[in-house]
Symmetry: D2
Subunit: 376 residues, 4 copies
């Protein structure tokens, strides 16, 4: 088994696989090491809304980065399908962000004044989705927000990367990364790997590498619990969103319903209480959902950073060590732009200074005056 590569990526979620894919396209020698199975953790738990607009409040000056990533999905869809046969189900239809009160409407003012976003009063909203609760006063209609099937995107990146020459090692836990001459040695359960450049893309599990490499950066898990339900009766073409909870229609009548938000909870199991609470919230948005059949439940850990921005950049001292982690609830949306940015950083291509500055590993709370702190 060949275990030397130019570049080794630690983490086979959607961020690691996207980086692997963009690097494989450049004919680099690249491997992805995943401790469990590809996309099996937070990626597989995500709903897949590419909410550049619905998450606008969170993005602030990062909106251009998020929007560029959203646009990348357009070309990726055909590219991945052509290369691998995988269709990651780019669902259009847009998203309705509900307002139950005048103050909720007001909070969204900044959003529904954007182009391609429209305010609907209750009657207009119910014309779009007749089963919506009558308790709303209206909804912002985000026409251009699409959603994808996250695990399919991740498998698309992974299968695509392999087709282009990359290697994927599942069930390969990285325990240590040490400098060895001019390269790095990556110790794993199945033996050592070596590489000139290493990218840490391990979501909340990146903390260990921060510590191990002398950094005080920290990523907090924010656990989200979701269910899937079978919708065999009511037509639903739009995603519905309120107060960080959502109902997302997938192909075949399956609805993804989520999500709780449990601060610093490392337990990856969905709890009875979590399930109870997402059902309750979903019923508030679409009462008829109460009669649907539950088909699955799960949980995932969102990697939260102190300022709401991911860490994307090189280790300040250890040259050749890069991080790409901490994408919060927006890992699916930001994966393509992150993959491209890391590719450019590693290959020495030009990268937008603003993004380098906003995402750099060595930023700290004091330095982030420009970035409003996210209320976690």
């Amino acid at each position: 088994m060949k275990q030397h590569f130019d570049i080794v990526i630690v983490g086979g979620g959607i961020i690691g696989c996207a980086i692997g894919y963009y690097l494989a396209k450049e004919n680099t020698s690249v491997a992805v090491l995943e401790s469990q199975s590809i996309g099996g953790k937070s990626t597989g738990a995500a709903a897949g809304m590419l909410g550049a607009h619905s998450e606008y409040k969170e993005f602030k000056q990062l909106y251009p980065f998020a929007r560029s990533s959203q646009l990348l999905y357009q070309e990726l869809y055909d590219e991945i399908k052509e290369l691998t046969g995988i269709d990651f189900e780019m669902k259009r239809g847009g998203l309705l962000k509900l307002a139950f009160s005048a103050s909720e409407k007001e909070e969204m003012a900044s959003i529904y004044k954007l182009p391609a976003i429209e305010w609907l009063n209750r009657e207009e909203a119910k014309e779009k989705v007749s089963t919506l609760t009558t308790s709303i006063i209206g909804a912002a209609f985000l026409k251009e927000d699409v959603h994808v099937t996250p695990i399919a995107v991740c498998n698309g990146f992974s299968t695509g990367a392999q087709t282009l020459g990359a290697e994927i090692f599942e069930y390969t836990n990285v325990s240590e990364i040490t400098k060895q001459d001019s390269q790095y040695k990556i110790k794993t359960s199945r033996g050592d790997f070596t590489a000139a450049q290493v990218v840490i893309a391990s979501g909340v599990w990146s903390n260990y590498f921060f510590q191990n490499m002398g950094l005080t950066n920290r990523i907090i898990p924010v656990k989200g619990e979701c269910i899937a339900a079978m919708n065999e009766e009511i037509p639903l073409k739009h995603s519905i969103f309120h107060d960080q909870h959502y109902i997302v229609p997938r192909n075949n009548g399956q609805l993804i319903i989520g999500a709780t938000k449990k601060w610093n909870d490392w337990n990856e199991k969905p709890t009875l209480e979590g399930i109870e609470s997402v059902i309750k919230k979903a019923k508030e948005m679409i009462p008829a959902i109460k009669d649907m059949k539950m088909t699955n439940c799960w949980a995932g850990l969102r990697p939260q950073t102190f300022d709401g921005n991911p860490f994307i950049g090189e280790h300040p001292e250890m040259k050749g060590i890069y991080f790409a982690a901490g994408h919060q609830r927006n890992g699916i949306l930001l994966a393509p732009a992150t993959g491209k940015m890391v590719r450019d950083l590693l290959l020495g291509n030009p990268v937008d200074k603003k993004w380098i500055e906003a995402f750099k590993v060595e930023r700290s709370i004091s330095k982030s005056t420009e970035l409003e702190e996210v209320k976690l």
Copy 2:
């Protein structure tokens, strides 16, 4: 394929299989016809509490029948294990019936004065189950109530019957039963069967045969929704019961939690609302349950009769046609006694007059003055 038998049983739930088993032990020529798979409907949905005492209020003068059935399980356990290798998990430990108020305690007065039943105050109850809510005032402790795994009992009867010479036909839907000379012709999806005696043991689906054979009897489905959760933390040796909801510990830390009660609902799917409500009720009994992981959900249709008693007996005019259906939420408990009674009826053995009278098919509301009407 041999399709003539002395006796054909229509319905492969626990009632049909119990009858098949007791008849096979007598070397009769017997077949069980099941439209789907053995035990796949209400039987598989049941929790398996053999609640002769917890359901005492419902049983009234039928308590002796229920109690005799409960006792039959003792001998069946070894018999089935020896014959088939199947262990249907006779779990002892008893049941705590919670009282949240003085009036609830009073309602149970008739129960906890029975021998082998003990009233526990809050402290005593929490000594038994330390995770019980502090909101109770106490609990009746039904020491002798055991529970079994219903699908295992049903498979035990079915495999046992086959070992003793009976034949089981799954996926065999009976569409019509007609008199033909001195016997009956049973039309099915896989051809006709013939038999001298026929037993209808189809739960709520027996209605069709009542109608088809000139009877006005009717069985109403009372849908119950349940979940299973994984308990990896708290010791739980007793079943917990309150207000028709329960938490039943199975082998391996699995908890069965149920059940809703939806009148005349034929839909066999568990709904989101049903799941939400059983979680809510379970948390009221044991708050720590909120952190457990849901592993499954399902629904079943309890066959309800007008007076709460099953129909067990011969058709008043069509000699050789028998019914054994309508066991409400007590089908698992009553299966052995029902199997034995039907065996005796078919073979001409003596049967307790009181039971014949209480369960006879041709009883009617007016006749049932002795039997208090069940509030459905």
Copy 3:
């Protein structure tokens, strides 16, 4: 509950739902009665290849009917998506029908001379699918064959029909249909329905109604067992087919692999032997499949008729009773054309004489000289 309709359809598989959909579009009063859940039997078990060409040999003079149905899917895709939000995943990419020997190549001669079908030698075939076995001599490439997700099509028809005013009754078993004055009474587990016109669309379970209505027609179940496997490594854009076995790539890297062919087997469970044999066959086509992970297994009953054509038409004596059953392995492909044809028959619209003749209920072996008998 309203239980009178102009038209009642018995059977909620893809055929019944397609008929319901086309009738609902005409503003008729229509209900679909399904004994279990919508699409839960043979429909859900199908792989969804719309093989107008791959099944060409079977279709013969019926090729135009099959081809018209395949073309209907094009417009249905957008129509259903617009109406219900359901995307039934119309996957293009075509199908490779493998030949392992000169004689197998020869057998396909009639197919690969059709337009839009191309013969590929081994090298050309492996250029399309690099993981194909080297044991083939080549493959017919059926460029235009697409595949859909059957349960999604069925749910699309069902949700669409409901949106247009039809009613769907799940868990509603029909036990008898009798003439009552100028209409029919349909007895079910949840009470009687009445309708002027009734369509029997119950697949293999239609036999009972044939018998009950004085017809000798018979449908034989041909059981097929399938598995699903997760493909995370090899790109696969085309379906692969050989000797009635297939590998069909779905969205998200899921492969559908089937199917056995068990004559007159009513048992709906997939067996260990069936699973073993489909794995063996799949490995012969694509050896690398051996390392994939199995994610599911199931079985379905294909409704086979004596001459390979479905029964679509009115009962010869009982006016207003129609049949639409017996679509063999091609129910998914033929559903739209069947739905349209039954709509036209019921509403008195003109229907192609050739098709009426080919599919009529009262045809018999002797009459079917034009139709070559299918070797079952």
Copy 4:
């Protein structure tokens, strides 16, 4: 969150939980850290045969250790049930080890001369299990071999340990263990723990700690793939064994069928080929198994050492660091004895010298002249 303990155990499989249980009984301050969920890896994948005799050949002079562990299960069964309510299903009935040829019979000579083991010729064997293949010449009947449900034993140890005061931390990945003053610091994803004594019980994943602590010991994963099938027809009271494959009846008619043996395979997914091969082997033992329904499939990694013995003992230099890993296919059987031995080592109780010598961490191939090398 309290993160200091006297003893920290790394690994929440059956070995780690058994150690935690025996230590908690002594009122020590103990925590178990598990990177995923309790029993979720090799433990959950095991069949649970306590094969002190069927694995006799492998045990050699370790037979007394294995036998003592088997006997410990007798008392543990009641103890765990009383303490936690968990019944880990101690199934008796014994095991039939099949011989298909005279040479296979001869190979077993050493076994069936042990007391409590009986040679059965073909007729006698088929009297016990009528569905056995007629191709055997006979079978050794190991009357006393029992089997348990491994995940239930593991949950029993874990829940029991918690009840007695231990703490269990799931989803807590240990990345490093370093000496810090007089104790050890254990770095994990959820912060640092400290302890005076640390036990590494991480199965194949212990390799990292060996390396990290300057040891050349190595554990090789031997992957085993299994399936579960539903047996609704044939009585089966005994486990069946041949050529390292087995059929084990569980409660409720479930059969556990395994297992493949893939050397140095770290991938934890069951493959199509693995499933195919265990079905094939099972059919050779009991042909009727071919008609059963598959209900599940999985894989686990058996931790293999160079000489077939586990490593149980203290690190030769780092006092206070212990290992308990490398139990091959016998982790379930050996868990109680291992738990007790590690407890005694940590608490300074006397331990049998023979076992200390046989299992010590610093033994090497050259030193192990007494121990015959296992042919892997």
